[in-house]
């Protein structure tokens, strides 16, 4: 689990605020194939994958709360759903530590789907009396595709923004374990020779 240093907290706060402002002021007004990209689950997914479950969950909660406040939506819905998204992405990193190049794409699509479905379920639980339409499902699918395409560049951008503030990069940690933890043939050389 990554320790939340003050520098990391500052960068996460700035990243979250900037992400929500760009989303609401620009991205939401850019329809692509009848849907919009949604940066929030992608940002939260990226932070979860890079910083772990604690930072991912807290970042998801913060981004969700900020989105609810600026959008004048019911407080608590986005924060609850994004908290689950960030925590899930963080646990994936801690438990599996996936290193494939396309992992952010797959996790980004899963995060978008989880956010879309979770938000819809919350709305229905709160009593929105509108039927689910094919248009809604189509829109969810279109957002999923757009977000999947954006996931890789956005992950790289978030990684760049947080670079230097993350004390424990998964790949660096793995390399360290390999070279110093007795797994490397170099460190096992004397034993092998004997």
């Amino acid at each position: 689990m990554t320790a939340l240093s003050p520098q990391l907290l500052l960068r996460l706060a700035a990243l979250g605020m900037l992400g929500v402002v760009v989303q609401t002021a620009a991205i939401s007004q850019l329809p692509i194939a009848g849907a919009n990209a949604d940066l929030s689950p992608l940002l939260v997914m990226a932070v979860g994958l890079l910083c772990g479950s604690l930072a991912g969950g807290a970042f998801g909660f913060g981004v969700g709360l900020f989105t609810d406040v600026v959008s004048l939506q019911t407080l608590g819905i986005s924060s609850l759903v994004l908290l689950a998204v960030g925590y899930g992405a963080g646990r994936l990193r801690e438990a599996r530590d996936p290193e494939g190049t396309l992992v952010p794409l797959a996790v980004g699509a899963a995060a978008t789907l989880a956010f879309g479905v979770g938000f819809a379920v919350m709305q229905f639980l709160l009593g929105v009396d509108a039927p689910v339409s094919w248009a809604l499902l189509r829109q969810l699918l279109a957002t999923l595709v757009i977000n999947a395409l954006l996931a890789l560049p956005l992950y790289a951008l978030v990684r760049r923004c947080l670079h230097g503030a993350m004390p424990d990069d998964p790949r660096r940690r793995r390399r360290r374990a390999y070279t110093t933890g007795g797994l490397s043939p170099l460190s096992r050389g004397p034993e092998i020779r004997r």
């Binding site: 689990m1 402002v21 760009v22 989303q23 609401t24 002021a25 620009a26 991205i27 939401s28 007004q29 850019l30 329809p31 692509i32 009848g34 919009n36 949604d38 929030s40 479950s53 604690l54 969950g57 807290a58 909660f61 969700g64 709360l65 989105t67 609810d68 406040v69 600026v70 959008s71 004048l72 939506q73 019911t74 407080l75 608590g76 819905i77 924060s79 609850l80 908290l83 925590y87 938000f119 819809a120 709305q123 709160l126 929105v128 009396d129 509108a130 039927p131 689910v132 339409s133 248009a135 809604l136 829109q139």
Partner: protein, 288 residues
């Protein structure tokens, strides 16, 4: 050490989930003037200049995307628009005759139906924010209480009615679109101006609305114009929407002629892409 880390992680998770649920319950339970609503409005007002600045700065990017989208959409619309033009030419001839009659009748009965938009105190505003999810069909415009905007004022764009003001701040206002699940607009349609209520057909679909509570024998056909009725259906008091604002066009009718008939309406306004709007600050006219 590991146990401590896991315990800490779970404690933080539990705390954040509890915070979300408390916020949700408290927000849902309190009135519009409650503490959380006030904090939300205050924060939103503070952030409005930032959003406005970001919206202006990112306008060229939006325009570029809009240009690509419009070009693709325009190709598909050419044939439909040609047919529409031919139909409107025929209707225009009939309308000119009716218009002369209407002028005389309006004066005779002192109807408010002859109001022009200028009499309704239009305030032109720019859209600075659009809700990120399809569940909240809201936009924010850069006109607010300082410009005479009040809660309930109807909002139009260059095409048709698009919604009503639901929150007002100093220099900005929140507009809930007609496709929001909470919106209901009293309308009339067809040759005999049959009355009904237009509301969204389903969540997340800005191109399909449904006109309900019409008489089964109402003479309404596909292609008929749907305009605001100007009065509320229950008590015939003046509606928040002035009479005669265009809303949309009948696209199809399900269960026609029965008590459960559903008249589907396609809004004239493209609610996915709104740049400028007009808020009618005197919805009852100059004397209202």
């Amino acid at each position: 050490m590991y146990d401590k880390t896991v315990r800490r992680r779970r404690a933080v998770l539990g705390l954040l989930v509890a915070c979300s649920l408390i916020l949700l319950t408290a927000y849902f339970g309190e009135s519009g003037s409650g503490v959380l609503h006030s904090v939300q409005r205050g924060t939103s007002e503070i952030l409005s200049p930032v959003q406005e600045g970001a919206s202006r700065a990112l306008k060229p990017v939006r325009d570029l995307f809009g240009w690509f989208g419009d070009t693709i959409a325009a190709k598909g619309q050419v044939e439909d628009l040609r047919k529409e033009r031919d139909r409107l030419r025929t209707e225009l001839a009939q309308t000119e005759v009716n218009s002369a009659d209407l002028d005389r009748l309006s004066k005779l009965f002192e109807l408010d139906g002859a109001l022009g938009i200028e009499d309704l105190g239009p305030q032109t505003g720019r859209v600075i924010f659009q809700s990120a999810t399809v569940w909240y069909s809201t936009i924010r415009v850069d006109k607010g209480a300082e410009d005479g905007v009040r809660v309930g004022h109807p909002v139009i764009n260059e095409e048709a009615l698009i919604g009503r003001v639901t929150n007002v701040f100093g220099g900005t206002a929140q507009v809930t679109l007609i496709t929001d699940t909470t919106t209901k607009v009293p309308v009339r349609a067809g040759r005999e101006q049959a009355f009904g209520i237009v509301e969204p057909a389903s969540a997340g679909n800005p191109t399909d609305m449904v006109m309900k509570f019409t008489q089964p024998n109402a003479k309404i056909g596909v292609g008929d114009r749907v305009v605001t009725r100007g009065t509320e259906p229950e008590d015939h008091a003046a509606s928040r929407y002035p009479v005669g604002l265009p809303v949309g066009q009948v696209s199809r009718i399900e269960h026609e002629g029965t008590d459960t008939q559903e008249i589907h309406v396609r809004p004239y306004a493209n609610l996915r892409s709104i740049d400028f709007v007009q808020i009618l600050t005197r919805p009852r006219g100059a004397n209202g």
